[in-house]
């Protein structure tokens, strides 16, 4: 909490100086993340990402959009089809550059803040980033596949959208305070990939982008979790043998316990 207050104080000092510059110049938006480094150990159950910032406009005009993005990766979506009375997965449709995690937070509904063109241009929507990179099966609708990707990832908590302050039943939200201060909080679920993330903050006024800021957030395994994962990826043969040895040891212990009884 102390750190958060410190960050806030720092931002408040910077804010007036920045506000004197013409906002149209697209200068960096003063913002910071509370946790630049999120560690994953054996008790990891997800975490929160908090982004602070100040609207440099003295009169508080403009809208704030905060996007927390995970790395992009090719994603595939399949539509189930009926074959001999069984529902089997149909041909996969691939989307390149689909974000593995995507949370967008804004002070009011995104469509009131930015035009559809801006939403696509700055990729403020998870669907905007995902590029269709393979053929769609005959009779299939590409946009239905894209919508399914977003819907399924949203159900997994990997895609999140919030407008306004956090409600009791929500896991994130954007709150504005006096003096142009804002704070965006989003819950990073435990199934979100462990990778390098970015928090992007945008200031829009009258539908146009005024300024933005990109901040890195790194999520990394530490301790035993890191060692196991490194071993499994870089020394997979050794890792397999180690697992078997563990199994043999467990079996040996069990056999000897049985003998005693």
């Amino acid at each position: 909490m102390k750190r958060i207050l410190f960050t806030l104080a720092l931002l408040l000092c910077i804010a007036p100086a920045r506000a004197q510059q013409p906002a149209e110049m697209g200068n960096d938006l003063p913002a910071a993340v509370a946790e630049e480094q999120i560690t994953v150990s054996s008790d990891y159950r997800g975490s929160f990402v908090t982004v602070f910032g100040v609207n440099p406009d003295r009169r508080g005009r403009g809208d704030i959009v905060v996007v927390v993005r995970g790395p992009t990766e090719t994603a595939s979506v399949m539509r189930k089809r009926r074959v001999f009375g069984l529902w089997v997965n149909g041909e996969a449709v691939h989307f390149s550059e689909a974000p593995t995690f995507f949370a967008v937070l804004s002070n009011r509904p995104l469509r009131q803040i930015a035009s559809p063109e801006s939403i696509w241009r700055y990729q403020l929507d998870p669907a905007a980033a995902a590029q269709l990179s393979s053929a769609v099966p005959e009779g299939g609708d590409p946009s239905a596949y894209r919508a399914a990707l977003v819907r399924l990832r949203r159900e997994q908590g990997l895609y999140q959208e919030y407008s306004g302050r956090a409600q009791a039943d929500q896991r994130g939200g954007l709150t504005q305070y006096q003096g142009g201060l804002f704070r965006a909080v989003v819950r990073l679920p435990a199934n979100a990939p462990i990778a390098q993330y970015h928090a992007d903050t945008y200031l829009f006024r009258d539908g146009r982008l005024i300024s933005s800021q990109r901040l890195p957030i790194s999520i990394a395994r530490v301790g035993i979790e890191r060692r196991i994962h490194d071993l499994a990826t870089n020394w997979s043969m050794l890792y397999g043998i180690l697992t078997v040895l563990l199994a043999l040891a467990a079996g040996w212990v069990a056999a000897n316990l049985f003998r005693r009884t």
Binding site: A190, T243, R259
Partner: protein, 303 residues
């Protein structure tokens, strides 16, 4: 809660211990390996199917090793036959892991696993239920069926015959190799040991004496399961060491309790009960692929 480094998800430690303990308990009680219950149980807990299958193999290796150790003390292992079955098993599991990886990339792995489990659980459940019920009705079905085994099988007519002094057999090497191959492939794809298929086949097809059947099949299962763990770790990187440790711990304790309790209980009732349970589980697998899905789209994951 503990975070699984490979499955990339947190699981409840107590829940996993409870499930693996219950599976171990049942296997100790009834005398089956339990891999075919453990893997679907893990999937039910939300562990991705590839991780469940690959990690389940390590637990099978642990259980079968403890079995082999105690069977060796009773000199109940036909090493020559075991080696032959293992050679077939190694080739079979290698092609099984290859197929596993192909299916994973094609996005059809979950379906194939579901269908195989559907048939497997239905068949085993039906057999167990029948056996349990017929014993309860007072018929000695088990011993009669062993006496009725055929005197000569295909194993005696095929070429490349070999002597197996421990089993007192002089049979072709082709059936044991083929049998080992099939079990190995199934084990790699489904995360099962395969003892419950291997044992009847050894009795009826190879005509092995019953006293060496269990030890020898355990030996084959041990070799194949260990190899599958190493191969899956390399090919698909789906072996989760933390989950494996939990499964072994729960399975070992459960099996201990189960076999102690099983000595004083009527196993036919349990067999019938377990059989009914497996039939119900297979029905669930069937409904999942027959009922029109509420969500027609699925995400392809893993690789």
């Amino acid at each position: 809660m503990i975070y699984l480094p490979i499955a990339e998800m947190p699981v409840n430690v107590l829940l996993v211990l409870l499930v693996s303990g219950a599976v171990g308990f049942m296997s100790g009680l009834v005398g089956v390996g339990g891999g075919f219950i453990m893997t679907p149980a893990l999937m039910f807990l939300g562990v991705p199917a590839p991780v469940a299958v690959a990690t389940g193999a390590s637990q099978i290796a642990a259980t079968s090793f403890s079995g082999v150790l105690s069977q060796t003390r009773r000199k109940a292992v036909d090493w020559r036959m075991g080696m032959l079955l293992s050679i077939g098993g190694i080739l079979g599991s290698a092609s099984g892991v290859w197929l596993f990886e192909r299916l994973l990339r094609l996005g059809q792995l979950d379906l194939i696993i579901s269908i195989l489990y559907l048939f497997l659980l239905a068949a085993v459940g039906w057999l167990m239920l029948n056996e349990g019920l017929s014993v309860m009705r007072g018929r000695t079905g088990h011993s009669v069926s062993i006496l009725r085994r055929p005197a000569r099988t295909i194993a005696h007519t095929l070429p490349f015959r070999m002597r197996f002094p421990r089993s007192g057999l002089y049979i072709s090497v082709i059936p044991p190799l083929a049998l080992g191959f099939g079990i190995g492939a199934l084990a790699a794809i489904m995360g099962i040991g395969g003892g419950f298929i291997l044992i009847p086949a050894m009795i009826y097809l190879l005509r092995m004496p019953t006293n060496v059947v269990i030890g020898t099949s355990l030996f084959q299962v041990l070799i194949v399961a260990s190899l599958i763990v190493i191969m899956q770790a390399q090919a698909t990187q789906t072996v989760d060491l933390v989950l494996a440790g939990l499964l072994m711990l729960g399975g070992v304790i459960g099996a201990q309790l189960g076999s102690r309790l099983g000595a004083g209980l009527k196993s036919e009732h349990l067999r019938a009960l377990l059989g009914a349970l497996l039939l119900a589980a297979s029905l669930k697998f069937l409904l999942d692929i027959i009922i029109p899905p509420a969500e027609p789209y699925v995400l392809g994951g893993w690789l």
